[in-house]
């Protein structure tokens, strides 16, 4: 199935060499903790911008969007259009002045400045745990994918090693490489490698999309091969029953766009840290906007392979009979059972006990959508460019890990260690702590990756917990930055109640085709949703609203900080930055309008 030759390995090796080389080259620039944790606050906007979007382009995006494209069609593009773009514009124009201007070294630190110590502690602890687990999940997913694609099988065979070791080998390999380049070069190294990964993804996936489209007969060929609903982003969003994802427009708009999108892009230190590494305020504001531009066009790169995979003809066992000089030769190409039962290039999931395809509630074979994109790579890429495609996949996993690890070591060192364990030490001490926190973070990630093997549902459980914690976050920041009356007690109460609300909502509702348990309804089933996406969105809306209300109420009942302490942290108390732009079209506002126009145009095109 997978035949990797020397060229493929050479390309992969070359990538690892450069990744480590960049780390080594940066080592001598890491003199202070500011250099290590904040990239010296000296990076140009374009690098931070590409890293901003790349930090998010981990395994989840590349494989997951392909899977969603195969399952739901172009509506997946909503994730980009509705969720991300407005959020990115908002954070760049309105929130970055406070993040960057406050000179906070991390998002929890901003909360400390704006609210109080306990709000910072809550956010720092939950974020540190989440980010290290996310890194572990990336590691696990990468090792699993390497196993599924049999990437290292050839190598292990040649060396005479047992194939059971492939999982551990993948985990250790990724851990060692990421550890090395972060240990050496800190955030700068992570950011540089994220930019490298950005271009690698384009290098790996653009030819795939081009080949796939050519094979299927261009855009019209694709339209003819997939259900009509797959090709339209907006058709049928007025009602849940008329679109593949089962969501209506309010759920879509509010849930995805406002709450989930903003919850991530506006508050997650994983992405915010790349913007805060910019060399000045104007650059920091431009960073999310610069990132928004490729974000508008990326749907093509990562969703289309999924769509194409479903649209291509399903391979079947075929026998070709030929007559060679009077001798009849029959050539049979046997296609594995799971491939035959699948659709297009997406195989069916096989029940390991019975050997037959698993079925959905309606009797259709259950498809393994995650294999859509990898199978596309294997199907179209000959050796050579195949190595490039696989390297792009590995790069996206690894940079996902790296971003999480740098966010972890910063939050740990500044918000946990320096604040609660050892205040007032020298800068060199904190730099050393940061390096050791990197080691610790990687070890914890490895632990998570192994735990994921033992406990089947751990990945899903973790994602669920993260969504509980993330959903209400945006409300806190919104109130913090735009309402001077918000207090620390309010914020703290709001965060806790928002998370509790998310958990409660999950416990009381269930998507239609699921059973109570990890999909919800573990308290009682009070309401059914047409899909778990819909449940997710409405849960987010619920959490956000509860947080908003509680924060407002408790804030009004408690005493706020004196206004003098809030200058530069709240919109109404911050002087407007002077318009220092030489040309009007370079200003963040102009860039934001351009981005909005582009986004709307794309949505109209794919209506």
């Amino acid at each position: 199935m997978l035949n990797l030759t020397g060229v493929d390995w050479l390309i992969m090796l070359l990538y690892f060499v450069f990744v480590l080389g960049i780390g080594f080259a940066l080592k001598r620039h890491m003199k202070t903790s500011k250099d290590f944790f904040q990239a010296g606050r000296a990076l140009p906007a374009w690098i931070c911008g590409l890293a901003f979007i790349s930090a998010n382009l981990g395994a989840q995006e590349v494989i997951g969007m392909g899977a969603s494209g195969a399952k739901y069609g172009l509506e997946t593009a909503h994730f980009y259009g509705i969720g991300a773009i407005p959020a990115m514009i908002f954070v760049g124009i309105f929130m970055m002045p406070f993040y960057y201007g406050s000179k906070a070294r991390s998002v929890p630190e901003f909360l400390r400045l704006r609210f109080d110590e306990k709000t910072r502690a809550l956010n720092a602890c939950s974020f540190a745990v989440m980010t290290v687990f996310s890194s572990g999940i990336s590691m696990y997913a990468m090792a699993r994918l390497i196993q599924a694609l049999h990437v290292f099988d050839g190598l292990f065979n040649a060396m005479g090693w047992a194939p059971q070791g492939i999982f551990t080998f993948s985990i250790v390999l990724s851990a060692v490489i990421v550890l090395a380049y972060i240990f050496l070069g800190g955030l700068t190294s992570a950011i540089y490698n994220e930019v490298l990964q950005f271009f690698l993804i384009i290098a790996g996936f653009l030819p795939l999309v081009l080949l796939g489209l050519r094979n299927i007969g261009g855009w019209s060929g694709l339209k003819a091969s997939v259900p009509a609903a797959y090709m339209h982003e907006w058709h049928g969003v007025a009602h849940a029953s008329t679109n593949p994802m089962g969501i209506e427009i309010i759920g879509l708009g509010m849930g995805l766009g406002f709450v989930l999108g903003s919850g991530y892009w506006c508050t997650d230190f994983l992405v915010i840290q790349t913007a805060m590494a910019s060399h000045n305020m104007a650059a920091a504001r431009r960073v999310p906007l610069i990132a928004a531009v490729p974000k508008i066009f990326f749907p093509f790169l990562v969703i289309l392979p999924g769509l194409l995979a479903i649209g291509l003809p399903t391979p079947h066992t075929t026998t070709v009979e030929r007559n060679i000089n009077g001798m009849i030769v029959r050539d049979t190409t046997v296609v594995p059972h799971n491939v035959e039962e699948g659709r297009g290039l997406v195989p069916a999931k096989i029940n390991p006990v019975t050997g037959k395809a698993m079925l959905t509630a309606s009797g259709e074979p259950l498809l393994d959508y995650d294999m859509a994109t990898p199978n596309m790579l294997l199907h179209f890429f000959p050796t050579g460019i195949l190595g490039l495609g696989l390297t792009a996949l590995l790069a996206s996993f690894m940079s996902g890990m790296a971003g999480n690890v740098t966010a972890f070591n910063t939050v740990f060192t500044y918000d946990l260690y320096q604040s609660y364990i050892h205040k007032g030490a020298s800068d060199r001490h904190y730099l050393a702590v940061g390096r050791w926190a990197t080691v610790g973070g990687i070890l914890l990630s490895i632990g998570t990756a192994y735990a994921a093997i033992a406990f089947n549902n751990i990945m899903d459980t973790l994602q669920l917990v993260f969504s509980f914690v993330n959903a209400p976050l945006f409300a806190t920041f919104l109130l913090g930055m735009f309402w001077k009356r918000a207090t620390g007690h309010g914020a703290f109460a709001g965060l806790i109640s928002g998370t509790a609300a998310a958990m409660l909502h999950h416990g009381l509702t269930l998507p239609i085709e699921a059973r109570p348990g990890i999909h919800g309804g573990w308290l009682a089933v009070v309401h059914h949703y047409p899909s778990d996406m819909a449940q997710n969105f409405w849960g987010a809306i619920f959490a956000f609203s509860i947080n908003l209300v509680i924060t407002i109420v408790v804030s009004l009942l408690t005493k706020p900080k004196p206004e003098s302490e809030l200058v530069g942290l709240v919109h109404s108390l911050t002087p407007k930055p002077p318009k220092a732009h030489d040309v009007w079209w370079k200003s963040p506002e102009a860039l934001a309008i351009a981005v909005l126009i582009m986004a709307v145009a794309m949505n109209i095109f794919f209506y």
């Binding site: 390309i11 450069f18 080389g21 990239a39 540089y192």
Partner: protein, 84 residues
């Protein structure tokens, strides 16, 4: 930062592009391209990457030369920060 990313990145893509082009030339017309619809994907895409890599290298070198010509940047005193 004194290391302009465009230089190592440009170098990497130039090398990868060169490898693919060389491999593409040496395997031109081979069976392996049946997968990619008969197109020598290695040759064509390798060429694109090679061009991209060279462009990045050029931009990086030019920027570095420009920075080297500027007078050394003044050491800026540590900025005052609130709290920690």
């Amino acid at each position: 930062m004194s290391l302009d990313l465009r230089i190592p990145m440009g170098l990497m893509f130039t090398l990868v592009g060169a490898i693919l082009v060389a491999f593409g030339i040496s395997t031109d017309g081979s069976q392996i391209y049946a997968k990619s619809l008969g197109i020598n994907a290695n040759l064509w895409w390798g060429f694109v990457l090679l061009l991209f890599g060279l462009m990045m290298l050029l931009l990086g070198r030019r920027s570095q030369k420009r920075l080297a010509k500027l007078p050394p940047a003044p050491v800026d005193p540590s900025e005052t920060r609130r709290g920690h």
